[in-house]
């Protein structure tokens, strides 16, 4: 469980970083799905104030016990964000927004809940501020649904993906802007991916034929040499490579 805490803490740090808050003054932030106040603690450490909302009384009890700095509200964000217009300088959410996609038989449809959440959040945020929502999307349809409702509510922005090439470390942050569209921050761990050469390499080497997968064509001399090398590595007895290896035989062999 301490590993989970560690990951949550890192994501909270990254989310606050992505908010791009001014460095000279304390801000008021909304923490959606604040739980036991782990992410809120990080906001307090940065010198900002926060108000947290969570649907679980048990988690909020833990937050009360821990004497977190922020104020806590027991609420379902799918019912709306109950604040006057323009009150917050920013909003973060760690691993909570995907829960709005759950279709509970009793409640409204997920698109309706998502729209209610995003539209009231948009109102509660000050102009020029951001909402950074870390989430674990189940699939691309869910991601599209969430993003669509956010755009419908008036937000601009997009998805920032950290470490997109690592299955384990990959993290999704939905970065939403209130007002004029800002530049989307760059995801971590994306530098190496963009290093791929877009031009053809010019070389003096005589190119040997390889197929699309990058493997040698089967039964060619290259293929035979590679197979012999593989078998040597496996410790099997293999004849030496000579100029006769893989030579063209007479048609009737």
């Amino acid at each position: 469980s301490s590993r989970v805490v560690e990951i949550q803490s890192q994501m909270s740090e990254r989310a606050v970083e992505l908010l791009g808050l001014p460095e000279d003054r304390a801000c008021l932030l909304l923490d959606v799905g604040c739980g036991s106040g782990l992410s809120g603690d990080h906001i307090s450490e940065e010198g900002h104030y926060w108000i947290g909302m969570d649907i679980s009384p048990a988690m909020l009890d833990v937050a009360v016990e821990r004497e977190v700095e922020g104020d806590l509200l027991l609420a379902d964000v799918g019912h709306g964000i109950p604040f006057r217009p323009g009150m917050f300088d920013g909003c973060i959410s760690i691993s909570a927004v995907q829960w709005l996609c759950n279709a509970d038989k009793k409640s409204h449809s997920p698109p309706k809940r998502l729209y209610r959440f995003f539209s009231t959040l948009y109102t509660a945020l000050a102009r020029g501020s951001r909402a950074v929502l870390q989430l674990y999307p189940e699939n691309s349809e869910q991601l599209e649904l969430i993003t669509a409702q956010a755009m419908r509510a008036g937000f601009t922005g997009g998805m920032v993906v950290d470490y997109p090439n690592s299955a384990k470390a990959k993290k999704f942050f939905l970065c939403l802007f209130v007002g004029p569209s800002g530049t989307l921050p760059k995801g971590l761990g994306t530098e190496c991916a963009s290093e791929e050469p877009h031009q053809a390499k010019f070389t003096n080497e005589r190119t040997r034929f390889r197929n699309v997968k990058g493997k040698s064509v089967k039964k060619s001399r290259d293929w035979i040499l590679e197979k012999k090398e593989r078998r040597r590595r496996q410790g099997k007895e293999v004849r030496a490579d000579t100029k006769y290896t893989g030579r063209k035989r007479r048609p009737r062999f």
Partner: protein, 91 residues
């Protein structure tokens, strides 16, 4: 719940007219120590500012309720945490 938070809250019950649902009335046992309206020139009044800061950021409502001025709907506060959950019919 700090009084600063109360200042920012408004009722999220759907169907209220624009601007409604604010301010939520705090229902407690005891009266507040501050006057209902700030007197003119309050920015210079050190004593008043200090009491204001205390009330906004240091006083917490632990038990009581918040009442919507338009619908009359009450949101209970327990252990400092207001319960803003709506019923299925309301939402």
């Amino acid at each position: 719940m700090k009084l600063l938070t109360h200042n920012l809250l408004s009722s999220h019950v759907p169907g209220l007219r624009p601007g409604a649902g604010f301010p939520l009335r705090i229902e407690l046992g005891h009266p507040s120590e501050l006057p209902p309206e700030p007197s003119p020139g309050y920015e210079a009044d050190e004593e008043f500012l200090r009491r204001l800061h205390h009330v906004l950021l240091e006083v917490e409502v632990l038990e009581g309720s918040l009442q919507c001025p338009d619908s009359g709907r009450r949101f209970p506060i327990s252990r400092g945490v207001p319960n803003l959950l709506l019923s299925e019919d309301e939402a």
